[in-house]
């Protein structure tokens, strides 16, 4: 399993410097990364587990977990971050489970996307909105 810690750390630094990018630019960056990962193949909706909180307790360290039975690799993107790439987890032939857990930094409310490459060469994706809020008024 390969965890690109460096990307996550770099992302943190970038998030501090940049706050808002125009949406079209963000969307195409995410699409480009998915295309690069899939080689342009069709991506099915669902079939990937993505466990993330609905509302982040702390946007600077949001626990997430991804998994897909039999996946060769799972790419995680934070669609609203200045640098959407978070990590790509790769699973070898002898991997007992195809799950990975980490913590990521989110610049604001946004979709977290997981794209899995399955052993048969097909792709599947799932996304979940994680809200980053200033909070403060609980009943």
């Amino acid at each position: 399993m390969q965890f690109t810690r460096r990307e996550t750390m770099a992302l943190g630094a970038a998030a501090a410097a940049v706050t808002v990018l125009p949406m079209p630019a963000m969307a195409s960056a995410v699409d480009d990364m998915i295309n690069e990962f899939t080689g342009g193949a069709d991506v099915a909706e669902g079939g990937v587990d993505l466990d993330a909180p609905e509302i982040a307790e702390n946007g600077n360290t949001v626990p997430i977990e991804v998994g897909a039975d039999g996946a060769e690799a799972i790419m995680v993107l934070a669609a609203g971050n200045p640098t959407p790439g978070v990590a790509t987890f790769t699973f070898g032939a002898l991997a007992g489970v195809h799950r990975a857990k980490t913590r990521i930094r989110l610049a604001g409310t946004q979709d977290v996307i997981a794209v899995a490459k399955m052993a048969d060469g097909s792709f599947a994706r799932v996304s979940k909105t994680v809200k980053v809020t200033i909070g403060g008024c609980g009943g």
């Binding site: 982040a56 909070g135 008024c137 009943g139």
Partner: protein
């Protein structure tokens, strides 16, 4: 199955005595209706299991007034659904007669005059009498406390929750879950929980560092009652570190964690649970959604959003019970569990009319014992009110209007902010305002009244953020409070819009000028979740303001214009 008639015993019994429908004559009608303890407690014991649910007591040991909301707007799939139905619509929905005890208990209209007729509600000594009566019919009934118990009064603050622990222990609950308890700080919570003679539950209370279930709180507890193996799974308030100061309990993480909830349900079923009860502090709409996502829960005892519903809501095979707040109601749920499944239920939301239900002498003495060391401070009269003082409502309440006025004048601010919490009893016109009363609507461990400068733009960001916590169409993104209350500034809100587009027409009321996004405004507020907040305690600010006023008299607040409902 249960008939609608059974749910509504109180209102029907009482309304039978009313001749004509009397719009405008509610108080007079009320006076004609005799209500007895036997009527309130009447219940044909059913099946083989009884659950007793209390929740969101907010440290209200003594009887209080509590006005239910006028404005409680539902969004998305919950638009127009309970609990987002109020007033006359609510009474029509449940067949409640105008002027009846249920009208007074469950809706807001004509509250002041009905309050004078029907009197105060709640009081844990009366709650004790109801619990004892249910236990007399069903000795092994389960008593379950949905949390927000160790918070919300002068004595609770002074004793760091010990007064409530002592009194609740006397009621002998079987299990409890949590929310505001954590604002006592994690060390104090752990100290109390270690000594609790009942289960402290929360399947969604996790260790923040390892993101694993926290060791101090069990996810569930098994009970054997009426020959039935019952699993009670706890669900603490999911958004504690966001809605309340996370720095006070840094070791813990929460969240809805419905997948883990499903795992727990599957686990208890595998261990032979015939009845699965979720003791929840999710809030009603979140519980409804969760009931549709998680399979295998028979009963959700719902807390947090302070809704009182005379009938359970049904989602698939799950029934959801909402039992109000501040000790005003006790829910009794009788269940017929056979062959490993729930075959039927009977439910009654019992309003605790304090002048009708005899206090339990032992618990009454215990309550007085908790309050005795502070009696002089509690009873000191600070002022009087000519206005009905209440809190509940999505956008404002007269208590918060008064608190915002206090912040504006005592802290010399242009704009005031008061948190949209849902606790805090009401006072009716003519009442004295005691220190006890002021603390009942302000007591908390992070009550310092800050004074700072904010740009107009940032104020809008705050309003948009809080509005989305209430009006996001997906309940899982809602935190269950109400809108932050604003003094000194008006605004319009279109609740149907997405975050960032709901708020407009922000106006500084003192000048009538639009709020300038770039200008700094002096803002005073309280209940900041930030560590190190400085300022006087909010109860001192409010007390000083009321002393100067002598008698409180408030104009209706029309500074928030609502659309998109």
């Amino acid at each position: 199955m249960i008939s609608r008639r059974d749910f509504l015993q109180v209102s029907m019994a009482a309304s039978a005595m009313v001749g004509a429908s009397g719009f405008g004559n509610w108080a007079r009608l009320a006076a004609q209706q005799a209500l007895t303890q036997d009527q309130l407690l009447e219940f044909d014991t059913f099946g083989n299991v009884s659950l007793i649910h209390v929740t969101d007591i907010h440290a209200q040991l003594k009887p209080i007034y509590f006005r239910e909301p006028e404005i409680n707007i539902g969004v998305g799939d919950n638009k127009g659904e309970v609990p987002h139905v109020t007033g006359a619509d609510f009474r029509k929905m449940y067949g409640i007669e105008d002027g009846s005890p249920s009208h007074y208990a469950l809706t807001y209209n004509d509250f002041s005059s009905l309050a004078k007729e029907y009197g105060r509600v709640g009081g844990l000594d009366r709650v004790a009498t109801v619990i004892n009566s249910i236990r007399a019919a069903r000795p092994d009934a389960l008593l379950l406390d949905g949390g927000d118990t160790w918070h919300g009064s002068y004595t609770c603050y002074q004793t760091a929750g010990q007064d409530m622990v002592n009194v609740m222990n006397a009621l002998k609950p079987d299990a409890m879950t949590f929310h505001w308890e954590f604002t006592l700080g994690q060390d104090r919570v752990r100290e109390i929980v270690e000594g609790l003679p009942f289960a402290a539950l929360g399947q969604n209370i996790f260790d923040a560092e390892w993101d694993e279930p926290a060791e101090d709180f069990k996810p569930y507890e098994f009970f054997e009652r009426g020959g039935v193996k019952i699993a009670v799974i706890g669900q603490a308030f999911p958004y504690m570190p966001i809605a309340n100061p996370g720095w006070m309990f840094p070791d813990y993480s929460f969240g809805i964690r419905d997948e883990h909830m499903q795992q727990m349900v599957d686990e208890v079923r595998e261990q032979g649970a015939e009845l699965v009860v979720c003791l929840s502090h999710n809030g009603f709409d979140v519980d409804k959604k969760m009931a549709g996502v998680v399979t295998g829960i028979d009963v959700i005892l719902s807390g947090h959003t302070h809704d009182a519903l005379p009938e359970p809501a049904l989602v698939g095979d799950t029934i959801i019970i909402a039992s109000g707040s501040n000790g005003k109601f006790v829910s009794r749920v009788d269940l017929d569990v056979r062959d490993g499944r729930m075959m039927g239920f009977r439910h009654k939301l019992i309003p605790i009319f304090s002048d009708v239900i005899e206090p339990d002498a032992e618990v009454a003495a215990l309550i007085d014992e908790q309050r005795a060391p502070y009696q002089a401070e509690l009873d000191e009269v600070i002022g009087q009110t000519d206005s009905l003082l209440y809190r509940r409502g999505n956008f404002n309440g007269s208590w918060d209007d008064l608190i915002c006025d206090a912040l504006l004048s005592e802290r010399d601010a242009e704009i005031a902010m008061s948190p949209g919490v849902r606790w805090g009893p009401s006072l009716i016109p003519g009442d004295d305002i005691t220190r006890d009363d002021i603390w009942n609507v302000t007591s908390m461990t992070y009550g310092k009244a800050y004074r700072s400068e904010m740009t107009g733009e940032f104020i809008k960001v705050i309003l948009e953020d809080v509005a989305d916590n209430i009006f996001n169409p997906d309940p899982y993104y809602q935190q269950g409070g109400d809108m932050v209350r604003i003094g000194g500034m008006g605004y319009s809100i279109d609740i149907s819009k997405p975050q960032g587009e709901r708020i407009s027409d922000m106006t500084l009321l003192s000048t009538g000028e639009p709020i300038d996004p770039a200008r700094n405004y002096v803002v005073a507020g309280w209940a900041s979740v930030n560590e190190g907040t400085e300022g006087p305690q909010i109860w001192d600010v409010v007390e000083s303001h009321i002393r100067k006023l002598g008698t409180v008299s408030l104009e209706p607040n029309t500074s928030v214009k609502v659309s998109g409902t």
